[in-house]
Amino acid sequence: MKDKGIRINICMGTGGIAAGGAQVMEAFKKELRKAGIKASVGKRCTMHKVGCRGLCAKDVLVDVVKDGNKFTYQFIQADMVPRIVQQHLIENNPVSEWLVGEDYHNFHNKQVKVVLSDCGNIDPEDIEAYIKVKGYEALKTVLKKLTPEKTIEIIKKSGLRGRGGAGFPTGTKWEICRGVEAEQKYIICNADEGDPGAFMDRSVIEGNPHAVIEGMTIGAYAIGADIGYVYIRAEYPLAVERLKLALKQARKKKLLGKNILGTKFSFDIKIKLGAGAFVCGEETALIASIEGERGMPRAKPPFPVHSGLWGKPTVINNVETLANVPYIIRNGDKWFSSYGTEKSKGTKVFALTGKVKNSGLIEVPMGITLKEIIYDIGGGIENDKALKAVQTGGPSGGCIPAGMVDIKVDYESLAQVGSIVGSGGMIVLDEDDCMVNVAKYFLQFTQAESCGKCVPCRIGTKRLLEILDRITKGNGKETDIELLEKLGNDVKSASLCGLGQTAPNPVLSTIKYFRHEYEAHLKGKCPAGVCKDLLTYYILEEFCKGCGACMRACPAGAITGERKKPHKIDPEICIKCGACFEVCKFKAVGKE
């Protein structure tokens, strides 16, 4: 039966708000009141803030559902609202030119949404909205019908593995912790998402915080913890606010706190804000940070499951891992393990960015090929340029060359080619990207974020970075590539924590697949034309009309020439800013 009401969903994740979501919502309120719609349909007209649905590039996204028919608008601003209300809601004639196009649907069609299934559809600030889509039913099932052991068995059977990067089987982790005898145990949700360009965890918490709380509570029951912590970046104010609200609502409904749902099980969650250190995503550094210490990793073993927070057995799971749990319990382990490959089950959320047409948040079944992600979901390369490589796994990951795009995306396959699934960063690089520069970019990040505790990471990454820097500046030495490989491998082997153990990956994988680019740099050329110091700008006399535009644009005064006669660039004075290249209408400025 068709719903006769009107429902308006406005994307109010961080991306949506940044694009003007709050103003759009205000405009809808005002226009609906003005048009008298609220009065005529009464309670049947509802407006909802919803979380991220992935395609932030097209925000503000607005769903208008009238009489059961859903239309989605893209790039909506407040001043466009009156026309939507008038034409769509009153005249029943959707504003076709503002509706999302085929690419929006393509973006979603190949995705399989588990963790994100309710994100973008429900109001994250309303616990009832989550309950309406069967929220907290998994918790009820677990607490009233399942023993902790049985719960662990379901998670083990489902094949769920840690989504934070390492891919450790979640059920096994829970089982080990359950087996450790202790009066006090803890469960921690790692929401210290620090990879540049990654926003999977933020979107999940912003879009469906209750799923994380439910997953965490189930985990706590399974291992026998009564206190949980969500360690979340302070740079995620909206996520923190929604999480706090969700915790409050859950406590009020007796879904958290003493004797949850009338059972003997008690559990509560505290929030600990991170202070912006990438290394605090490493579990032992995260524990140190909660304890009030400087966020520096501790040596393992002992592992946190044996001796974690304040020396007590502790399970640390990533946001996405925990958000999967309620869906697995509700739909069964077989349903979950029907997605994915033999060893990598279920789905994974990726932040698809870089030179791809549709960038945004995607959830795909494990085992999908890179090609499907880039071309079917991502819509191909921007400006239809040639794909060069895909960088996966953030600063700890590696680069996969274009020739390998048929590779399956799962833990094992990516590891085999020298990269990782990681927390889910996926950066598409095209022919204009210099691989040496890409490696340098990531190393700059890891070097700056190294905690400084161990020598290989603190000094080793610095030396790696210095070598890369001199290569991109044309001062590389003949032995530098071998030195990078040697030092990179040593830093990987000898570093204390995951940060140092993976920091050389971008360097090593780019050397592996793009050695020729490194060699070209040593010979004084940057094939992609990115490294400034290796570039020369020159004027192609046969195309130059002598208009003087480049001369006026040049901030260094490096260009000379008479009007209507070919100009010249003095390479000694040229600062290689590219202003002349940009400004020339006749393509008379060349660079190499």
Binding site: E449, C451, G452, V455, I459, G460, K462, L487
Partner: protein, 346 residues
């Protein structure tokens, strides 16, 4: 008890023992920089890495507890190669001015560089530059020589309970400093100086007084208080140039500011070496016999004229327990009053 093999040798050690301690029991040498037997393990320098069967990556022996049946290899081409890389990395960010360094000859980093024969360094690049600036008279901090082993931080918080310093900043810029990089303002016990494996922390008054050559070590007991810490005087040409304490003493090698840095009086021209008696408004040097006779005569006279309760005795914390016992006995039994007290009674 846990049984394991290290380099093919079997040993049984109590549960909770680290691989490093087990190896040392077998007299197997493993190089370390950040490890200190009296401080909690740190695992930062990575020199003590070992290979353990079943674990793909090398692990630090100082942090890894032994497990039953564990098979450990402490030296292999791969391990020695990694250790060499680590040392070269440290030395690539070090002044390497051993020629004029206070700690030359007593520096763990120098020793390891020597044993690994590091003459040339594959890694060269930026070095940290810091200005020396502390105004205190005790501790010299040359942070360019700091290898961030964290021993000073640990001794300050774990042993001394002060926490005057900690790690700050990240990455290559990480350093150890007091809060907000203020000047060091602590109790100057110098425990940090004692545990520093390089020349980053030294005693200010040690400067240019002599290193290891021509030093005679004299073991004695600190006279500052009744605690009686064992100290070792470093004497060069009949002058005390440094005070240290050995780890196997009952005070475990720990000292306070007075014992460690308060030795200037020994060679001070103002030092009193004989008793003085004021005669006609001026102090005059006298023999101990004369001084004791004079004191006894005066005490007797006062006691006779005003009674024993007109006399009181105040003893010193610098005396031993036995001396303090004798003193109160003297006041009570000989003088005949209970007016006796001690400066450390509070």
């Amino acid at each position: 008890m846990v049984k394991l093999t290290i380099d093919g040798k079997t040993i049984t050690v109590p549960k909770g023992t680290t691989v490093l301690d087990a190896a040392r029991k077998l007299d197997i040498p493993i190089p370390t920089l950040c490890h200190h037997p009296k401080l909690t393990p740190f695992g930062g320098c990575r020199m003590c890495i070992v290979e353990i069967k079943g674990i793909p990556r090398p692990v630090t022996s100082c942090t890894t507890p032994v497990t039953e049946g564990m098979e450990v290899i402490t030296s292999s081409p791969r391990l020695e190669d990694l250790r060499k890389t680590i040392l070269e990395l440290i030395l690539s960010d070090h002044p390497n001015d051993c020629m004029v360094c206070e700690r030359a000859g007593d520096c763990t980093l120098q020793e390891l560089a020597y044993f690994y024969g590091i003459k040339e360094n594959r890694f060269q690049g930026e070095r940290r530059r810091y200005e020396k600036r502390d105004g205190n008279p005790f501790i010299e901090r040359d942070m360019e020589k700091c290898i961030l082993c964290g021993r000073c931080v640990k001794v300050c918080s774990e042993v001394q309970g002060v926490g005057a310093i900690d790690f700050a900043y990240r990455g290559f810029n990480a350093k150890i400093c007091p809060p907000y990089e203020h000047d060091l303002d602590c109790e100057f016990c110098g425990q940090c100086v004692a545990v520093c494996p390089t020349g980053a922390l030294t005693g200010k008054m040690w400067a240019l007084k002599g290193r290891q050559k021509e030093i005679k070590e004299v073991d004695t007991v600190c006279a500052y208080c009744g605690t009686g810490c064992n100290i070792t005087l470093h004497v060069r040409r009949n002058e005390v140039v440094r005070v240290t304490s050995k780890e196997n003493t009952w005070n475990e090698g720990w000292l306070c500011v007075k014992g460690r840095f308060g030795y200037k009086f020994i060679n001070s021209p103002d030092r009193l070496k004989t008793p003085l008696i004021k005669k006609r408004g001026k102090f005059k040097e006298v023999s101990w016999e004369e001084a004791l006779d004079y004191t006894a005569k005066k005490l007797n006279a006062i006691k006779k004229k005003y009674g024993p309760d007109s006399i009181g005795g105040l003893s010193s914390a610098r005396c031993t327990t036995e001396e303090n016992y004798l003193f109160q006995k003297f006041i009570r039994a000989v003088i005949g009053t209970n007016n006796v007290d001690h400066c450390a009674r509070l």
